[in-house]
């Protein structure tokens, strides 16, 4: 990473972009499993049982985290671009990061 990109707003951009890419990679699997519900109910049940393992739960936690990051930094972008203010509003980045962290912790508490 270039020296000139090492600052708060850029990290928010990176968080938004990378979480978006990771979620895009995950989506096909998501639809694949949803598709099982249509005509292969048994396999779906098997899969859901398998997904109760702690390791898979941790992976789900990662997904929730990614979603929270993507949502928070996406909202930040919409606010920066559509609300009548100027400036980088760095506190939005911290708010977004905080929201994602809290969402992650809540998921962990509920999952185990």
């Amino acid at each position: 990473m270039r020296q000139s990109s090492r600052h708060t707003s850029y990290f928010a951009f990176l968080g938004h972009r990378l979480s978006g890419l990771a979620l895009a990679l995950f989506l096909p699997f998501h639809f694949l499993v949803l598709g099982l519900a249509l005509d292969q109910g048994n396999r779906l049940d098997d899969f859901l049982k398998w997904s109760d393992q702690p390791l898979v739960k941790m992976a789900e936690w990662g997904l929730v985290g990614l979603l929270a990051i993507h949502l928070a930094f996406g909202l930040r972008l919409l606010m920066l671009e559509y609300l009548p203010w100027v400036g980088q509003r760095k506190h939005l980045v911290w708010l977004g990061g905080g929201f994602a962290a809290i969402a992650g912790v809540l998921f962990l508490i509920r999952a185990f």
Partner: protein
């Protein structure tokens, strides 16, 4: 004993290399002072640009230890790492030689983004008064002090990735024209700013606002252009 700075400077064109010089450190020394010392005392062949030396003209920008900066107002104390300086030409522009880059594309993009003022009055007409406290005038004032140094342009990742992107300075200029009530070319401006390579190409990383030496906020100007030309913007 005088402290000695180790200064590495880009020499040559695109395929050039860094060359090392030893320069005596001085009190309140700027990076431009260092480059000038080298040219006057060590290597008369060194090519670089400057004019005003007081942060007005925007001609002295270079990459200092990886960051684009105006060198005449950058103190060595603030940026040297263990007495070391690496001085390179601005990024995202073609190197002519040593620290001099070809600024032509940078200025051409100002035109491409619709940055040329168009008026309908002549010197014979009465001057139209603009209320200094009006919303538009305040927005224009916030963006207008650009010194055309290309520091923001050099730090922008999107300029690096896309040749056709006009960049932060050109769009910041477009935003000040958008708010200029005397500018008659608003329709043309809108077309240029919304064109491919215009405001929607920006990713809002704000490297530009982070690095602008005169504290302008090109990322904010670009966001304001996007908003103004959207369904949430004022019609003008």
């Amino acid at each position: 004993m005088t402290k000695i700075l180790t200064v590495k400077i880009w020499r040559g064109g695109k395929d050039g290399t860094l060359e090392s010089y030893s320069v005596p450190a001085r009190k309140s020394q700027t990076v431009l002072d260092v480059v000038t010392y080298i040219q006057r005392h060590l290597d008369a062949d060194l090519s670089y640009r400057f004019a005003c030396r007081v942060g007005m003209c925007g001609s002295c920008a270079m990459t200092v230890n990886g960051v684009p900066r105006w060198t005449c107002r950058t103190h060595v104390d603030k940026v040297s790492q263990d007495g070391q300086l690496i001085i390179e030409p601005l990024k995202n522009l073609e190197i002519i030689r040593d620290l001099t880059t070809d600024m032509v594309p940078f200025f051409e993009k100002w035109e491409k983004a619709g940055g040329r003022f168009e008026g309908k009055q002549s010197r014979a007409d009465k001057i139209t008064a603009i209320d200094p406290d009006s919303k538009k005038r305040l927005a224009a004032s916030a963006a207008i002090e650009c010194i055309n140094c290309a520091v923001c342009y050099s730090g922008c990742d999107t300029v690096r990735a896309r040749d056709d992107y006009v960049g932060p300075a050109a769009l910041n200029r477009a935003w000040s024209l958008f708010n200029d009530e005397k500018h008659t070319g608003q329709r043309k401006l809108k077309k240029s700013v919304k064109a491919d390579g215009g405001c929607y190409t920006c990713h809002t990383h704000a490297n530009c606002s982070q690095s602008c030496p005169v504290d302008l906020d090109p990322a904010g100007s670009i966001a304001s252009l996007k908003r103004s030309y959207s369904m949430f913007g004022s019609r003008s």
